[in-house]
Structure formats: structure tokens, C-alpha cells
Amino acid sequence: MQISMKLEMKDSPGQLVAALKPISDVGGNIIAVIHQREPGSDHGTLDVQIVLELPEGRLEKLVVLLKEQGVHIQRIGEQRLLYKRTVILIGHLMHTDLSDTVDQIDSTGFAEVSELAMSMPAVKERSSSRLTIKSVTKEDMESALAILRRVSQQKSLLLIEPLEESA
């Protein structure tokens, strides 16, 4: 499962590494570390937000290990996927195994189809669906869209992507 944690620790050398070590100890995988140094903070502490992938049932162990390191856990939450894109697929979606199409994104671990709206006119006609994809990073979103492009081509589906201006 993917979770995010907001941690507070002493702002001294080696603290961050010490705080991250328990994550690998319990078999977790760090996806992102966001450093937040509060301006004007005089507590001598450091706030760090981390996003990690954790095998099921290891969270409690991790919490214990972090406390042992003197790390204060301010917040634990299910990871909020930061990037969202909506695409539309047109074609013979059921005949080409829509659940497989969705699974190709979900199985990546870094992106998922969070919403699916669909219309199916007559049986032999092409159907249309709207997929909302979420991912942690922008690069992950690009990778997810690349997968979807490939799958759409294989299954002769028309993929309509959003216009993203970002030159």
C-alpha cells in the first residue's frame, strides 16, 4: 500500500538518514521525500514529508521503529496521488477487455485508474469511456499515458488525451 507520512526530527547531521532507514528495514520503498524547513523555525527540528510503498501489515512495525529513532510522526495518511489526468477511450472497449486495459495502468504501482465513466450504445457499436488516472509524480503520469497509448494502439482504440501546455 502507498502511504504518506509527515515526520518531525532533530535538525542535526545524520538524522534524516537514520529516520529513513527503518523504512527499508520493514521492506518499504521510498517514492518521494519532501523536505520542509520551516522559515524562522527555532525549534531545531526538521519537517519531512515522505511517500512510501509498504507491504501490507508492516505499518505498525515501522511506527515503532521510527519512534525508537526519536522521530515524531505528525501525520500518517493514505497517499494522495498528486497528478490527475482525464482521458477518453473510444472503441470496442468490452471486446478488447476493458479490465485488462485498466489493469495495465493499475499494475504499474505508480499510477492508477481512479474513476471510470462509460457509455455503451448498441452491442456492436463503439463505446466511449472516460478514465481518470492518478499518479504520484508527473513522470509517472507520462509513463502511464505512454502505456495507455501503446495499449490503445494494440487494441485499436482511439485515445483522446488532454491538452497539456507545458513548453
Partner: protein, 328 residues
């Protein structure tokens, strides 16, 4: 300045009428349609020739060919507005070359020669010290070439996005607004005179792709070809797809897009927010340029039409007159 006008379809007629009607310092001394030609060093009587064309199907002497006009008439600038042949660019390329060989300025609305042979024609024009201008090839009346050349001079163009095909935009507007099927909207576009009997070029995105090639080569000079454009049309879109986009505050438009930094040269239907500047209604065209200094600039206007396209051609002619021709 003396003009030879080649082609008397909708665009040619608009040019002839506007030059006659407005006092612009332009005189038509040569005129050719597909069947005949007329020339007079002192200026042709355009209303009489147009009336003759309306009545008899040709404007002038059937023993005078287009090439006769180009090679023999007394003129300073050739206005080449014959129909586009996207595959060979002919006979327009030959017409333009013949005029360039005589050191005549060229103004064209013809996408074929500019998409296929811009580099060669440009080199020939430069060598002969004359202008080769084609404002009317892209986005009709919108002065995109003048904007790039003058208004945005010194800017680096980072990307461009455009709605460059009025037929597709009309069809998509109608599908979104009225829930029409693609086939219904296309039929309506035909009835309105916005779509050709064979709409393939428009609805498959090829027309937009040709315009994208012209823009990309003008801006970045990479000499890209039609085959380099990743092109998807609108003919497989469903009303449901437009409805699904609409539920999210979006719609679908055929967007031509060039981003050299990412190696993107693409025409494809895209989901786009309804309040995005590129979402224009009906047959309108729109273009957004992203530049380093000016940031985003969007131009919106009519992408086709007789007088609208004449506006772009006359803009080019008057630019040439200003810049090169000091006699008048």
C-alpha cells in the same frame, strides 16, 4: 504595384473584387483562370472580366494560358491562388518557379507548394531578391505570419497549438452543443458549405497537418514533411465522448501542436477545458504561441472565406509594396 492574379475561385474572386473596390495602389494587369487568360499593362477591367466569367465560365481569351500570363504579362507580384494539390504541389510549384525566374514577388494561398517545396522556393526567391509570402495558407484571415515576423520578432517560439481546420471545428462544436453524431454534424457542415463533397482531407486531420508543417518550417526551419506529423482525425469520435468530456467542464477539439523541444508534431482530437482560449465555436480558427518573452499569445479569427482570405493576401501585397516597390 502591378499584380498578376492566377486562379479565380472563391479566393481569387475575393482578391480581384477587393483590389478593384479599395484604393490600395494595386493594379491587376494579368488574370488567369483554369481555362483562359487576360493581360493589359495599364490594368484590366476586372468587373467586366468577372461578369464574363460568370456568364461564360471563363474570364478571358481561351488561347491565353496561365503560363502565358506568368511568363509574358507585365507585373511586379504574382498572386497564386489555384487549388491546393497536397501530393505534388503542381501546377502551382511550376507557376511560382516561372514567376520567380522573372524576379517577380510571390503571394500565395496555396498550401501545396509551401508545404512541399518551401525551402527550394525560398532559396530561389532570395537569390532573385524578391519576396515569397504565404500568409493566407494558414488560418485564413489571422495574420499569423506577420505576427511571427514582426510583432514577435526576437522572441523564441517554444511551442504552438492551433485549431486550424474550420470544418472539424464546426463538426465538433455541433456534436458538443446538440449531441449530434459525427455523420449528422458532417452532413450539416456540407449543407452549410463548410465541408467538401469528399471531406477526407479535413476530417482526417490532413489539412491541419499541412498547415502545421508550414508553420513549423516557417518558425523553426527544420524542413519537416507531412509524414513527420503524427495525425489522428475526428471521424471516429462519438457524441458520448463529447458528453463525457462535457461532464468534466471540458470539450474535444482537433488540436495541431508543435513542441520542438519534446519532438512533438501532432494533430489529434484533445480534451480541453471549455474556457480555454483555443475553444472557439463554429468555423473559427485559433492559434496559441508560447514564447520566451511574450509568453502566451492567442489569435482568433476566420480561417476561410473569400474576402477573409483576400485580407491575408492583400496584407502580403501591401507589405511587399511598402518594402520593395517605391515606384508607386
Amino acid at each position: 504595384m502591378k499584380i498578376a492574379l492566377i486562379g479565380l475561385g472563391s479566393v481569387g474572386r475575393g482578391v480581384a473584387e477587393m483590389i478593384t473596390k479599395k484604393d490600395l495602389g494595386l493594379t491587376i494587369t494579368g488574370l488567369a483562370d483554369s481555362k483562359s487568360g487576360a493581360m493589359n499593362t495599364n490594368g484590366l477591367d476586372i468587373p467586366i472580366l468577372l461578369a464574363h466569367k460568370k456568364k461564360n465560365g471563363h474570364c478571358g481569351d481561351q488561347n491565353i494560358s496561365t503560363l502565358d500570363i506568368i511568363k509574358k504579362a507585365d507585373y511586379d507580384a504574382l498572386v497564386e491562388v489555384t487549388p491546393t494539390n497536397a501530393l505534388s504541389g503542381e501546377p502551382a510549384i511550376s507557376y511560382i518557379k516561372a514567376a520567380l525566374a522573372r524576379k517577380k514577388h510571390i503571394v500565395t494561398s496555396n498550401k501545396g507548394p509551401i508545404a512541399l517545396a518551401n525551402k527550394e522556393l525560398r532559396a530561389m526567391a532570395n537569390k532573385n531578391g524578391v519576396a515569397l509570402r504565404y500568409e493566407a495558407t494558414v488560418a485564413g484571415a489571422i495574420p499569423i505570419m506577420h505576427t511571427l515576423e514582426h510583432g514577435l520578432a526576437g522572441n523564441e517560439i517554444l511551442a504552438l497549438y492551433g485549431v486550424l481546420n474550420g470544418t472539424c471545428n464546426y463538426i465538433l462544436t455541433r456534436m458538443a452543443d446538440e449531441g449530434l453524431t459525427y455523420e449528422q454534424a458532417l452532413m450539416e457542415a456540407r449543407e452549410m458549405g463548410y465541408a467538401e463533397a469528399d471531406p477526407t482531407y479535413d476530417v482526417k486531420g490532413i489539412d491541419a497537418a499541412i498547415k502545421l508543417v508550414i508553420l513549423a518550417n516557417t518558425i523553426w526551419g527544420h524542413d519537416v514533411k507531412l509524414n513527420d506529423v503524427d495525425c489522428t482525425g475526428i471521424d471516429l469520435l462519438t457524441p458520448d465522448a463529447l458528453r463525457l468530456a462535457g461532464e468534466e467542464g471540458c470539450t474535444i477539439r482537433l488540436i495541431a501542436e508543435a513542441i520542438p523541444r519534446k519532438n512533438i508534431l501532432r494533430v489529434s482530437p484533445r480534451i480541453i477545458e471549455k474556457n480555454h482560449p483555443l475553444v472557439v465555436d463554429g468555423t473559427l480558427n485559433a492559434l496559441t504561441l508560447e514564447t520566451d518573452m511574450a509568453k502566451e499569445i492567442t489569435l482568433i479569427g476566420r480561417g476561410a472565406g473569400s474576402v477573409e482570405t483576400a485580407s491575408a493576401i492583400i496584407g502580403d501585397l501591401l507589405y511587399i509594396k511598402d518594402r520593395y516597390d517605391r515606384r508607386t
